[in-house]
Symmetry: C2
Subunit: 335 residues, 2 copies
Amino acid sequence: MTNIKKVSELAGVSTATVSRTLKTPSLVNVKTREKVMIAVKQAGYRPNWLASSVKSGKSNSIVVLVPNLVNPFFMRIIEGIENAAQERGYTVLLGDTQGDQQRENEYASMVLSNRADGLIQLDHSFPFSEADAELAEKVPMVSVCERIVDKPYPYIELDNYAAGRAVMNHLISYGHKKFGFIAGQRSSLIFQDRLAGMKSAMAEEGIPFDESYLVGASYDLDTGVSGAKELLAKSEQPTAICCFNDDIAMGALYELTRCGLSVPNDISITGFDNVRVSGYVNPPLTTVDQPAFDMGQRAVNVLIKMIKNEPLARKREILPFQLLERESSGPAKTT
Amino acid sequence: MTNIKKVSELAGVSTATVSRTLKTPSLVNVKTREKVMIAVKQAGYRPNWLASSVKSGKSNSIVVLVPNLVNPFFMRIIEGIENAAQERGYTVLLGDTQGDQQRENEYASMVLSNRADGLIQLDHSFPFSEADAELAEKVPMVSVCERIVDKPYPYIELDNYAAGRAVMNHLISYGHKKFGFIAGQRSSLIFQDRLAGMKSAMAEEGIPFDESYLVGASYDLDTGVSGAKELLAKSEQPTAICCFNDDIAMGALYELTRCGLSVPNDISITGFDNVRVSGYVNPPLTTVDQPAFDMGQRAVNVLIKMIKNEPLARKREILPFQLLERESSGPAKTT
DNA sequence: TTGAAAGCGGTACCAC
DNA sequence: GTGGTACCGCTTTCAA
C-alpha cells in the first residue's frame, strides 16, 4: 500500500503538505506543488477513501432498497437515482431485498453504522428491525413510488388515485361495464390508491364493483397469465381487464391471445408503468406512464437535503402521470 | 455520534473491552460482557463501519460496471452478483456507465482508492483511464458475459461461437437459406463470436454470407424495429432473421407483425438472452438461454478469490447455453 | 481478563 | 507556505 507518508518522503515534504496539495492546491507554493505531484505520480498514490471518510464521518453513499431487480420499472427508478447520485458525488449501494425482511433489516442498518448516509426505499415496508426502530427515527430516508406505512418519512410518488380514475374513465368512455382486475402486491398503498380511484370512477357511473373479479397478488408475468385464466373462467366474462402493472398486463395479453381472443376487440387490457417493451407488444399496451427516472432523481435530491440537514420544502411530492392510450383498449364488445 | 468511548464510559470499562465484547465475546468475562451489552443497547451504539474498515484496509465492497440498467439481462446478472456478494459479506456498488468512458474511469478508480476491493465489468472495455492503467494491473477484476480486450483478466461467459452455430443450425434445419442479421454493439466480442459461429454453420452448408443483410448497431427495441424495416426493404427478403438479443428480436417481431407478416409462417425470428418477457410475446421467442444469474454468482466467487489472493483454478469459465426452440421460428416459406 | 496505547491513513489546526 | 501533531473511531498488541 502506497500511503501519504511514502509520498511525503519521496517529495521531501510533510504529509500535511501532500494532503494540502491534493485538496487545496491554492494554499501550496507552485514549486512545492510540482514536487509533490511528481512524487504522487511516481508512487502511484491514491488517497485512501476509507481514511478520509472516517475523518469526515461521511461515506457519501446511499443505500437503495429494492424488492427485485428484474422489474424494468424499478430499474428505471434506480437509473434515475444513480444518475442524480453520481452527479452529486454519491455512490449507490444496491440492496436487493427480494421482499425478505431480514435482508431489509441488514441493508437498512448500514445507515446506522455509517456505511451509508441515507436510504431510499422502493418498497412500502419500514425497513428497520424492531430493535433499530428508535435509532432509525433520525435516519435520512425517503421512499419513492411507495409510501412507508405509518411513518412520517418524505416520499415521492404518483397520484395513484387519480391514475386509477383515469384508467377507469378511459374504459368507461369506451362503454365497458364489466371489469376484471389483476393486482400485484396487495398490501401496498399503491394498490389501494389505484383501486380506490377506479372504484370511485365506477361508482360515479353506477357500476357496481364485484370483489370476485379482483384476482392476483404479485407483480409478474405469471400473475397476468393465471389472472386472465381465472377471469375467463367466470360465468360472465369481463370486457376489460385492468392490470396493476405492465408485466401483469403482458402476461394477461399473452394468455388471452393464446385463447384465441382478440385484444381489444374481444377484451380490453390496461397496464401501469409504461415499461419500454409495453409499446412493442401486439397490440401495444394502453398504460399509465410514470416518470420513473425523474422520481429517482427527485428522491436523491430530497435525501441529500435530509443528509445535509437542510430544510425540506415539502414532505411529499406527487408527480403527474400520463395515460397512454395505445391499442390494447377499445370499444366494449356488444353481445 | 455515539462512539465506542461513550459506551466504554457508560459501562465503566475500557474501549478495548467494548470492542472485544462485540467482536470476540469469548475473550471477555461473562459479567463484563453483560455490563457492556447493556451500555451498548442503552447508548444505541453501532460500530462505525468506516473506522473498522480503515483498520482492516478492506471495504468489503465491489463495484459493478454496467452499461445500462434497463436491459433485464444485465439485471439478472447483477441479481446473481448481488446475491452471491451478500452471502459472502460484500456490498455491491452500482456503476451505471451508460457506455461513457469517463464514468467508467471514475467508477473503476474506486478500486484504486480503497473504496472497493474489486471490480466486475459487464462491458468489454478496459475501464481504467490511461493514467491508471499501470496501477490497474494488480486490481482484482473479472468480466462477465464479455471479455476485456487485450487483457488477461479472468472472465465468465457463454460459448457464443457455439451458440451462434446452434441458432444457425436450427434455422438451417428448417430449410432457411436467406438470412437477415440485426446486431447490437458491433465492437463487442460477443457479437463477433456469435456471428463467426453463425457463419461457420452457414459455410458448412454452402450458404453464402451477405454482409448487406447485417444491420443494426445497438441492443434495443428500436434497433429491432428499424432493422426489420431495413431487411424487409431488400429486393430479396430473408426468410429468417437472427437478432443478437431479445430486445432487438421483440422489436423486429413487433415491426413484422405491424407489416402484416406472420411469424414464423412468413419469417422466422430468433433472439439471445431469454429475458423473461420473451416467453410471453406472441409468438414466444426462440432464443438462447444464458444462465445470467449463475454467471453473476460465479463472477463474484472468482473476484473474491482474487481479492483474497487465492489461486484461481482457471482464468476463464465458459458456461453452457441452451437453445430454446419456441414458436417464433419454423419452416422456411416456400415461394 | 482487562486496560493502556500504538497504530490504520488522512485531515486540519496551530505554530513557526 | 510549511511542518508538527492531535484526532477521527476502532482494533489489537503488550503488559499487567
